[in-house]
């Protein structure tokens, strides 16, 4: 399992315990996200603190994870490394996800339905 999960006050924080979500990791990450976020709180925060690199396979797996969470729940991202942030900005995926500097910022954020 590449993930650790904690749930509190209606928010599930899923921490990725890997330095890279790359081609070698993407399928396992997607499968682990499916089992971890299946039937949980309405809001999921994906904590990427330990991840310093995401390639296009990993990016696709994160998008897939958001689809798995479904339209009635939300997957937000927290604590992107400079390299991970760069991949999200270049592909404009930073406009699709809510991205927070830290997990605490994500927890504290007022949730507006956009």
């Amino acid at each position: 399992m590449s993930l650790t999960s904690t749930a509190k006050d209606g928010i599930q924080v899923v921490t990725v315990d890997a330095e890279r979500i790359d081609a070698a990791m993407a399928i396992q990450f997607k499968d682990d996200m499916r089992s971890t976020t299946d039937d949980g709180p309405a809001r999921v925060i994906l904590d990427l603190t330990k991840v310093n690199f995401v390639d296009s396979s990993g990016l696709g797996a994160i998008v897939a994870a958001m689809k798995q969470v479904g339209p009635n729940r939300k997957l937000d991202l927290a604590s992107l490394s400079p390299m991970v942030g760069k991949v999200f900005r270049l592909t404009r995926m930073d406009t699709v996800f809510n991205i927070y500097d830290t997990v605490q910022d994500a927890i504290d954020a007022e949730q507006d339905d956009d």
């Binding site: 081609a23 690199f53 296009s56 400079p82 404009r92």
Partner: protein, 141 residues
């Protein structure tokens, strides 16, 4: 001043990961900035993943060869493989489609060539003697 190094590995995803990390680690000796190394790693990873997943289609006995060389203010990374050629012997355009807000239709792939084109100064492909030759150039300003 010209400096260069060469490495090779067989075409599976874990070897590709180690190969990418090894190249980036050795490029640190070229005095590149952390920021530029990050950009190079993203483009290099996409190029190598394409070889592993498409040219060799996960035929893990295939060999991926990477040569890096500095020429004045340019870093050249050449990747050679003997897998299948690129379709029509051409570099894909790598355009990102319009990004829809509709969750279900969000793309889960097709970012690779876009990232390569976005992060390199120049990219060239040719097929020579049953070998794919991809040259990525990064200007180091």
């Amino acid at each position: 001043m010209s400096r260069s190094f060469y490495c090779s590995f067989s075409a599976n995803e874990l070897n590709a990961r180690e190969g990418i990390l090894s190249v980036i680690s050795r490029l640190k000796n070229f005095g590149l900035s952390e920021h530029r190394l990050n950009e190079i790693q993203i483009a290099l990873a996409e190029a190598i993943n394409n070889v592993v997943e498409h040219a060799y289609e996960n035929n893990t006995s295939g060999e991926v060869k990477v040569t890096c060389s500095m020429h004045d203010a340019n870093l050249m990374i050449e990747i050679h493989d003997t897998g299948s050629p690129l379709p029509n012997l051409e570099l894909p355009d790598g355009n990102l489609g319009p990004l829809e807000k509709n969750l279900e239709t969000l793309p889960e792939g097709g970012f690779g060539w876009f990232l390569i084109r976005e992060l390199t100064t120049d990219v060239h492909y040719r097929r020579v003697a049953q070998t794919n030759e991809l040259k990525l150039t990064f200007s180091i300003a």
